[in-house]
Amino acid sequence: MEDQQINHSAIQVEKEEYKKQQRRDKLKQFLTISSPILVLILWEFLSRTGLIDHRFFPPPTLILSTLYQMGLSGELFNHIEVSLIRIICGFLLGVIPAICIGLLMGMYAPIRHFLSPLVMAFMPIPTLAMLPIILIIFGIGEFSKMVTIAISVFFPVVINTAAGVTNIDRIYVDVAKNYGANAKKFFFKIALPGSLPVMLEGIQMGQAIALLTIVAAEMIGANSGIGYVIWMNYKAFLLPQMYVGLVLISFFGYLFSLIIRGLQSKLIPWK
């Protein structure tokens, strides 16, 4: 009888504790959502009351309605489509060779020692600084934009992939060797899956860089795309339209990182 009493109160205590924990979690969620909303409200208020110049900082509601109007005319979707095609093609154009070369560099020390000075020499150069040369070589068409993105994505991915392979715990290499893995099996069973976590970090980084690069590249030498929308509207002093471009970049950046995070949990369920 008394035993049950004690048990009961113990449950009570834990129940209270659990409820507190849930309340704390709710608070955290609320804080996460509240900061962007707070900034938007403040912005709206300051802009509407004229405390900040509404020509430079148009209220968010105006930006949203501008987005809606631009969407209605259909032209906006053209720009989005152009930018997305450039990003996706350029991204693949950079990531695929980067993974191949990175794996080779990780697996074979001679290749690593031979190629790493080249990688180190080119890596610090901002891809945009190479844009003139890229334009000379590849012309002013779509392909040169894809190449620009590809180059900027290439370096973080190649470095992370190589590091991913070389950092595989020595004991797994011993296991593979002891159990008679040949080169092909070693590649598919040890090197590739073992380097995947670090490789995906590199791809995540590359994704962010790709977005930065395309917008800047479209500002400099293009007549379409989201970067172009921003630049042209700025020049024409159509600032709400310019902000629409910024909102779109923010949205796609978030979307891409969500996609890659989803890919991460799909590809490395063992982490």
């Binding site: 715990d169 004991i171 797994y172 011993d174 296991v175 593979a176 060797k177 002891n178 159990y179 008679g180 893995a181 040949n182 099996k185 069973k189 040890i190 899956p193 073992g194 995947l196 490395i268 369920p269 063992w270 982490k271």
Partner: protein
Amino acid sequence: MPNTKIEITDLTKVFFKRSERVEALKDISLEIEDGEFVCILGPSGCGKTTLLRILADLETPSTGSFQIHPSSPDRPLQSMVFQERGVIPWMTVEENVAFGLKMRNVPRKISKERTQYYLEKVGLEKFAKLYPKELSGGMKQRVSIARAFANDPEILLMDEPFAALDEQNKFILQEELLNIWQETKKTVLFITHSIDEAMLLSDRILLMSAQPGQIVKEKNIKLPRPRTMEDVRSNEELAHEFVDIWQHLQTEVQGSRAK
């Protein structure tokens, strides 16, 4: 006369570190019979792991040679039971156990059967589809043991497989290992620094000295099988042997410290 399974002749291994020269193994010669369970016991840094790694083809001897006599051409010569962190994290328990078979292109059906058999043997059939991160240390070590036995090698090499486990798990796994071993009667070379473990498991204990690593003493353990830890502890003769081995290790450790 029983067949010799492993033959090691004048094996020497020297390591160079800058200008330093370490004689890890010196003139090791020994024979191990088919079906024998041999423990190599020695202080840490005595080169026992090096000897095992040479037999496992992960290291080459400086001079001398060794031979593992095959009984059938489609059997691998040796498989190693690695420490628990040798379980590959990106493969499920099942895939880990089947690893050796897959590497040797054993037909799917046989591979599946054998994997299943050893999973049951080590009590992990319920965990077949899980990744190692979800297993405890003892369960991971069971995966490592099952992987080696499933590969069905001529000899098994074990490098302090239970060193990282807690005492309770260690006893359980030692007995499980003995059960599986008694069924397959494989030749085993087992490295340890635990005297109890060596006396429980082995037919013969080889005592090693440190730097240069040499085999300095040999002890046959005649305790009838199946054995339990209680048998080992209550046996008068083994208690005597324990003290003897203990003293040997003591002087070895102190000797290498004095150097």
